[in-house]
């Protein structure tokens, strides 16, 4: 981390789409007005991403604008999530954002912090893990991205509808939480006593094992009221949850 930085914002799970205007608006304002020196987006900024060629029109293009303008004033870093895993180099280059592998270790304020979207750690969701292995393969990616854009959008819609329909059929499915033992193994391997992740939509902070703490990022959903949107801010004093910025601080 550059020595001049005073704070870093972590956000994830905004699931932005054309039909989430309030959440989009809050995100756009935060990106424009946050006092942080950097914003690290840890996955699922977008509800869906069917390929970087989608970025030139419509809602996706509006989001590019937000990111491009933000990148003029602060550093941006981007990790893909389980919904927007097809965000690629073309998109990140245009937005001026650095790609973050999952997981990533950050050295900031004299300490090491492990960052992950979180889906790879939800080992109990066996069906998801085998699906993940398939769609993150180079072969699947190449095959999918070779389809016309309109077809990819249709498939994405179908996958979303199928996912909704599954909720009706399956027995009660709680958001699978990360496997605590695996998460601790990751932290030990990274020599990082703090893990920051999203994905589960269960914001909170807890110790996974003595000396190993994890912070779960809040999802953002402001379409209904009460809604939820929080930023996790890291500075020299540690991590605090703050409300998204709405205007330039004096």
């Amino acid at each position: 981390m550059p020595p001049t930085w005073k704070s870093i914002d972590f956000i994830s799970d905004l699931h932005l789409a054309h039909d989430t205007p309030r959440t989009y608006s809050a995100w756009a304002k935060h990106m424009a007005h946050t006092p942080a020196d950097a914003v690290f987006i840890l996955g699922d900024l977008f509800e869906a991403w069917v390929g970087d060629d989608s970025r030139s029109t419509g809602f996706e293009n509006q989001c590019v604008g937000v990111l491009v303008r933000a990148a003029k004033h602060r550093s941006l870093a981007f990790m893909v999530g389980n919904r927007d895993f097809l965000v690629g180099a073309d998109m990140l280059d245009e937005c001026g954002a650095t790609a973050l592998p999952d997981p990533t270790v950050v050295l900031a304020f004299g300490r090491r912090w492990l960052l992950s979207h979180g889906d790879a750690l939800c080992l109990a969701d066996v069906d998801y893990q085998s699906y993940r292995a398939e769609v993150r393969s180079a072969a699947w990616r190449e095959r999918f991205l070779s389809m016309p854009l309109a077809q990819r959008r249709t498939i994405a819609r179908q996958l979303r509808d199928a996912s909704e329909a599954r909720k009706h059929q399956l027995p009660l499915h709680e958001w699978a939480d990360v496997d605590a033992d695996e998460a601790v193994r990751w932290m030990q391997a990274a020599d990082a006593p703090v893990l920051i992740h999203g994905h589960t939509h269960r914001p909170g902070t807890n110790e996974l094992a003595p000396g190993f703490v994890r912070y779960v990022l809040s999802d953002w959903d402001l379409e209904e009221s009460p809604g939820r949107a929080q930023v996790l801010r890291l500075d020299a004093d540690g991590l605090t949850r703050v409300t998204p910025s709405t205007a330039a601080a004096r």
Binding site: R22, E164, K167, H168, L172, H173, E174, W175, H201, R202, P203, G204, D221, E223, E224, S225, P226, R228, Q230, R241, T243, T246
Partner: protein, 167 residues
């Protein structure tokens, strides 16, 4: 003296204790809806595990019941949106609460009053669940999904059968 309301649901009963000293307008408003039977037959239409359960506005089938005039936001009363407290739901407009309410299922600090601004007004807590928190936990865990235009809707209706003011 605090007021008490019994909420009988198809998941069990909850007893609410209402703070009419710190939230007089909200309690008066809530009791008015209780006593004219407004809540009977409405559902908890929005349930988000780890956040809150919200209801009192819609019949099964998401048909909205008519309400009375909105009330002032009493969120600056010092009561916090902690787990099992009851608060008035509203739109983005600070003083727009009518009949809908929600029960916090965790400590939701970000919903507390911060300032008299659109962003800062927060949500007015006017009571808490004093009996039947296990019923809240049960409702919090129901399967939810998209129903019509509503996200996070219980797939099987969570019904408020009857709401009664207790002596």
């Amino acid at each position: 003296m605090a007021k008490h309301v019994l909420l009988q649901t198809n998941h069990g009963d909850m007893k609410l204790e209402l703070d009419d000293a710190l939230a007089p307008a909200s309690v008066r408003n809530f009791l008015s809806y209780v006593n004219n039977g407004h809540y009977d037959g409405t559902v908890f239409h929005r349930v988000i595990k780890g956040f809150m359960i919200q209801g009192g506005g819609f019949e099964p089938g998401m048909k909205q019941r008519p309400t009375d005039a909105p009330i002032n936001n009493e969120a600056a009363n010092g009561l916090k949106n902690n787990r099992y407290t009851v608060a008035m739901a509203r739109t983005q407009v600070p003083h727009s609460a009518t009949a809908q309410f929600f029960i916090n299922t965790t400590d939701n600090d970000f919903l507390n009053f911060k300032a008299e601004s659109v962003q800062g007004w927060g949500y007015a807590v006017f009571g808490k669940v004093v009996d039947g928190t296990d019923v809240v936990d049960g409702i919090e865990s129901v399967k939810t999904g998209r129903r019509g235009s509503h996200d996070d809707a219980p797939l099987d209706d969570v019904l408020i059968v009857k709401a009664t003011e207790m002596a």
